[in-house]
Symmetry: C2
Subunit: 586 residues, 2 copies
C-alpha cells in the first residue's frame, strides 16, 4: 500500500486491532474506576464509526480472571450496544468452524448464527489475565462466546502439543488466514517451540494468495532465558503478527529481517502500572488488508488518562545541595515539587481541548536518593496534589541506584534454527525443578520459607482470581502443619490468655505473616535486579503484573523492544516455576 492505494473497496478487509483492554482494572478506585470501561466504549465506537469488517483483540480483555459482576455487565452491555445491529457482513469464513471455535456448544462465528443479528463480529484470543481455569477449561471470554457476543478462538486444549488452525476468511478477492494462540505460560510454550510441538496449519490450496495474520499474547521482551517467545520461533510464512501482552504501544509495524514478517504491538489501552512503557501515547490500529498488501493506521485513544513519568538523581544536583547541606530534605522535596508541577503543567497543555481525556493525570517521579540522602515524608507531599493528580498516594518512588546489571545477551546471535532442532534442552524441564525443590524442602524442613511462600502465593491467588478454595486449602494446610509442629516442639498454648484475645491476636500474626512473605518476595526481587517495588506490594502484585521491569535509569527506548530488565514478574501458571528456578539458582 502506498497511502494513495488505501481504498475501502469490496476487496479490502478493515480490521480494528486492540489488545490488553484490562476491563475492570482498578474499578473500585474513586478516580480511575471507570477508565477501562470508558476506553472499551471508545474502541467499540471507533470500530462502528470506521465500519470495520471485524474487531481483533489480542487477549486480556478482562483484567481479572474472574471479572466482577459489574465488569461483565458493562462488557456485555457495550458489546450488545455496538456489535449488534443490521449492518451486513461482507466476508465469508471458509475454514471448519467446529475447529476454529471450540469453546462453546455453538461452534460457529456469531454473525452466522440465525438467532443473533451481529453487525461487527469481534474475535479474541485469551490473555494471561483472562486465561481458562478449572476442570472445564473455561475463561471469562467463554461467557461472552456462549452468549454469542465474541468469537473466542486460538484456545489449545493440549498442554503438550499445539496445532494452530487458522480461521480462513475471504472478502472479495482477498484471502485472510487468521491464526491465534491464547496465552500459555512462556516457559512452557518456549519449550514446546524448542521441541517442535507447535505447528501452524496452512491452507493447501492457493497457499501464496493468503495473507497470514497471527495473534499472540506472550512476553516479547526477554524476561529470563526462556521466559519469552523469540520472534524467530514464529513461522516465516506469517505476514503480520499482532503481539498482545506487552503494554507499551509500539503499534507501527516493525519488520523482522530474519523472518521477513512484520510485528505490531498495539499495547494496553489502560496503564496498569506506573512504568515507562505505559507512558507512551496509547493507540489502537485500523488494519487494512487487500490481497497480500497491508496498511496499519494508528488511531490515538482519547479517553486514556495521561501518564507522565520522570527520573531525578539527587547526586546530580551538587550545585544545589549535598547530603550535608542544612535542610537538605526540604530542598529535595522542593525540587520534587517543582518537577511534579512541571509535569502537571505539561499534562494540562497537552489536554487542552481534549474533552474526552480525564482531568487528573497519572504522575510518577522516580527519585534516586543514593549517596546519603534521606527520603522525605511522601504522604505529606501527596496531600499537596490530591486535587490535581489521579494517583496522589504514589507519585514519588524512592530508589537507590544499583550497579548496572550486565545486559542479557541479545538473541540476535543465537542460532534459532539449531535451537529448534534440539529435542531436549537441559534446564528447561520446569516440572522437574519444582519437584526437586519440594523434595529438598521437605528434607531440610525449611518450614519458614515454605510457609511464607504458601501464604504469599495463596493471598495473591485469592486477590487475583477470587479463589475461595485457595484460602480454604491454605487454612487446612496450615492448621495441620501447625498441629504437627506444635506437637513436635511440645509447645502448648497459654491458658491464661482468654480465648478471644488469642483469636484476635492471631489475626494480627496472620497479617504479620503476610508482611514477612511480602518482604521476602521484595528481597528476592531486589536480588534478581528488579525495580524496587512500592511499600504496597500486595496491591502491586495484583495489579501490575504486566509491568515491564525496566532497570533504572531506563534505557533509551528504541523501536521494537520494550524495557528488558532481568526477571520480570511472570504470572499465572508460569509464576511458580520461574520463582522456584530462581531460588534454585541461589
Amino acid at each position: 500500500f502506498s497511502s494513495a492505494e488505501i481504498l475501502d473497496d469490496e476487496d479490502t478487509f478493515k480490521i480494528l486491532i486492540a489488545t490488553d483492554i484490562h476491563l475492570g482494572y482498578l474499578e473500585k478506585d474513586a478516580i480511575r474506576g471507570n477508565d477501562s470501561y470508558n476506553t472499551l466504549d471508545e474502541i467499540l465506537k471507533c470500530a462502528k464509526t470506521n465500519q470495520v469488517d471485524f474487531i481483533l483483540l489480542g487477549g486480556d480483555l478482562f483484567h481479572d480472571n474472574k471479572p466482577s459482576r459489574r465488569c461483565l455487565h458493562n462488557c456485555i452491555t457495550m458489546l450488545r450496544r455496538y456489535c449488534m445491529g443490521d449492518t451486513p457482513i461482507h466476508f465469508n469464513i471458509l475454514s471448519d468452524q467446529n475447529v476454529n471455535f471450540n469453546t462453546t456448544e455453538f461452534p460457529w462465528v456469531n454473525y452466522q448464527d440465525e438467532n443473533l443479528n451481529i453487525s461487527i463480529p469481534a474475535f479474541s484470543i485469551h490473555g494471561n489475565h483472562d486465561d481458562p481455569t478449572g476442570a472445564e477449561g473455561l475463561c471469562a471470554l467463554d461467557l461472552l462466546s456462549a452468549s454469542g457476543l465474541v468469537n473466542h478462538f486460538g484456545h489449545s486444549h493440549s498442554v503438550e502439543k499445539i496445532e494452530i488452525s487458522p480461521i480462513l476468511m475471504q472478502k472479495g478477492k482477498t484471502k485472510l488466514a487468521l491464526f491465534g494462540l491464547g496465552s500459555i505460560p512462556d516457559e512452557r510454550l518456549y519449550r514446546m517451540f524448542v521441541n517442535n510441538q507447535v505447528t501452524m496449519l496452512r491452507p493447501k490450496e492457493d497457499q501464496d494468495e493468503w495473507f497470514n495474520l497471527f495473534t499472540i499474547h506472550q512476553n516479547r521482551s526477554k524476561h529470563g532465558p526462556t521466559n519469552y517467545i523469540p520472534e524467530q520461533f514464529l513461522d516465516d510464512f506469517i505476514d503480520l503478527v499482532v503481539w498482545g501482552h506487552e503494554h507499551e504501544c509500539l503499534i507501527a509495524p516493525t519488520r523482522n529481517e530474519q523472518q521477513l514478517f512484520y510485528v505490531t504491538q498495539p499495547g494496553s489501552s489502560v496503564a496498569t502500572s506506573l512504568s515507562p512503557g505505559e507512558a507512551t501515547k496509547k493507540h489502537i490500529g485500523l488494519l487494512r488488508v487487500k490481497g497480500r498488501k497491508m496498511n496499519l493506521e494508528k488511531i490515538p485513544l482519547k479517553t486514556v488518562r495521561q501518564f507522565f513519568i520522570q527520573d531525578v538523581v539527587l547526586a546530580d544536583y551538587q550545585d544545589q545541595f549535598t547530603p550535608d547541606t542544612p535542610q537538605v530534605t526540604k530542598k529535595v522535596e522542593d525540587l520534587c515539587y517543582a518537577k511534579v508541577t512541571e509535569m502537571l503543567e505539561e499534562a494540562e497543555r497537552e489536554r487542552l481541548g481534549c474533552l474526552l481525556t480525564p482531568e487528573k493525570p497519572l504522575i510518577r517521579l522516580r527519585v534516586d536518593y543514593s549517596g546519603g540522602f534521606e527520603a522525605f515524608n511522601t504522604s505529606r507531599f501527596s496531600q499537596k496534589f490530591v486535587e490535581r493528580v489521579a494517583n496522589p498516594k504514589d507519585i514519588i518512588h524512592f530508589l537507590r541506584r544499583r550497579e548496572q546489571k550486565e545486559d542479557i545477551k541479545d538473541e540476535v546471535n543465537v542460532d534459532y534454527g539449531k535451537l529448534l532442532k534440539t529435542t531436549a534442552v537441559e534446564g528447561l524441564r520446569v516440572e522437574d525443578l519444582v519437584k526437586q525443590y519440594f523434595e529438598a524442602t521437605e528434607q531440610t524442613v525449611q518450614l519458614s520459607l515454605l510457609t511464607e511462600k504458601g501464604m504469599g502465593k495463596a493471598i495473591q491467588e485469592f486477590v487475583d482470581k477470587d479463589e475461595k478454595d485457595a484460602i480454604e486449602e491454605l487454612i487446612t494446610y496450615q492448621l495441620e502443619k501447625t498441629q504437627r509442629h506444635l506437637q513436635a516442639r511440645g509447645v502448648t498454648t497459654e491458658q491464661d490468655i482468654d480465648a478471644e484475645v488469642r483469636a484476635a491476636a492471631c489475626m494480627g500474626n496472620r497479617a504479620e505473616e503476610v508482611n514477612v512473605a511480602i518482604n521476602r518476595a521484595k528481597a528476592l526481587r531486589l536480588e534478581r535486579g528488579d525495580e524496587p517495588v512500592d511499600a504496597d506490594l500486595s496491591r502491586e502484585l495484583a495489579l501490575d503484573s504486566d509491568e515491564d521491569s525496566v532497570p533504572f535509569p531506563p534505557p533509551a527506548r528504541g523501536r521494537g523492544r520494550g524495557g528488558r530488565g532481568r526477571g520480570g514478574r511472570g504470572r499465572g501458571r508460569g509464576e511458580l516455576s520461574y520463582y522456584l528456578s530462581q531460588i534454585k539458582a541461589h
Copy 2:
C-alpha cells in the same frame, strides 16, 4: 376451566412455572454436581415441547449470589439453546417496558429486540440467593438480561417504598397483568406492608378484565413474628400468586378464603437440604389462562434425584432393646441399617423405568436417641452405603427429643386490616435495635461476643457471597482491636517462639475462633427452638439456607403450609437484624 375446556387456542396463555432452580447447587460434588443443571435442561426442554408462550421463574435461578463461571456458562448455553429460535411469539406487551425492565440498558422484552431471535421469553424475579448486591444493585440475573436471554422484572430500587408495576400482556382476548416482587428481607418487607409502603398498580381501563398474576419470593411459613409475609398482606384483586422461596412442592393452587385468591407454591427443583419439605415429589406447572379462568397442570420432574426421609425414636423399641440391653448400640445400628435398606428398596422400585432419574437416591434417617442411648459411629455406617446412596456421609442424623414448643399463634385470628392501618409498630424498627445493641456493646465492652459474631458473620458472608471485601474488612478490624486490647492488658507476644510457628499457630486459633462462633450460633438456635444442626454447620449454613426448620417429630404435612418451626434461618440482609433482635430479647 373444567378439564374439557382446556384448549390451546389463540386466547389462551400457556405459561411454564418453575422456581428455586438453584443452579450450581453442590456443583463440585462428584455425585450430585450436575443435578441442578440436568433439571434446568429438563425444565427448558419441557417449555419447548409444550410450546408455552413464556416461562415464569420465581427467583433463585442461581444458588450462589456469584455463580461460578461453569454455572453461568451452563445457564447461558441452555437458555440460548432452548429459548432462541424461529417460533413466533403470540402475545403483546401493552405496559411501559421502561418501567417493567429497569435493570439493563435494554429496557424492553427480549423477544422484541430486533437483534435477537427469541422463541420462548423467560421472565424472572430474583430470589434471596441471587439478589442484587454492590453499588450498582446488579444481580446474576442481570448478566442474563443484559445478554438478552432473560427478562428480569420486579426489581424495586427503593428500600423505603415499593410500587409494583405489572407487565401488561395480551394474547387474543386474554389480558394478563404480571406482577413481580424480587426478594427483600422478610422483616423489612413486612414492615413496609404494615406501613402501607407497598403499592400494586393496576391498569385503569377494563380493570375487571385482567387476570392478575403475582410472583413473590419470600418466607410463606412463619419464621418468627415478622419474618414472613402473610398471604393476607397481598391485595385481594390478585387472582393467583406464584410463591417462590419455599422449597416444598405444593404446586396445586390453594385458595385463600379471606383474600379470595389462589396460591401455588411450585417448590424447588433440587433438594438443597435433607428436610422433609424437600422430600415431596418435585413438579413444575403448566399454567393456562384464558380470560379470567385458569388451569394449572402439574408436571412431574424426571431428572430430580429421589429423596427419602424417615424418623426413628429409639425409646419406642422397648420390646427390642433399652439403653441397658447388652450391645444395644449394635442393635440400634442394625435397626438403622434395616430402615435405610428399606428406603433404598422403595427408591429402587419407584425408579423402575425412569431412565432420567439419577441412580443413587438421597437418604436421611433421623434418629431420636434420647432416653440414655448412645450414638454409633456414623462414618463406619456410611461406608456400607457408599455405592448406593448419593449422600453417604450424612444419612444418619442423631437428635434428642425436646419438649414440644408452644406453637406460634396462628395468624388466622389476627386482624390484618387493623395491622395494616397502624402507621408505626413498636418493636419493628430493626435499625434502632441494631443501633442500641452496638451502643450497649461498646459501653460494656462485650468484646468476646462481638468478636465471635463478627467472625461468624463475615465467614458466612464470605461463603455465601464470595465477598473478599468482607474478609479484608474483618482482618483490618480485628487487627486494630487486637492491638488496642493487647496494649490495654500489657500483653506482649513471646519472643522465644519463632515467627513462623506463631504465624502458623494463628491459623489454628483462627479456626478455633470460627468454631467458637459456630457453637455460639448453635446454642442460640437451640434456645430459639430450632432443629439441632449437623456438626458440619458451616456447610449447612452455606448450602441449606432455605431449609424449613421443622420441629421433631415433624408435624403432619397438610396442604398449603410447610413446616412451621420458630426462628428459621434468615439469610442475606435480613439475617443480621433478626439475629440482633433475638439477642436483644434475652
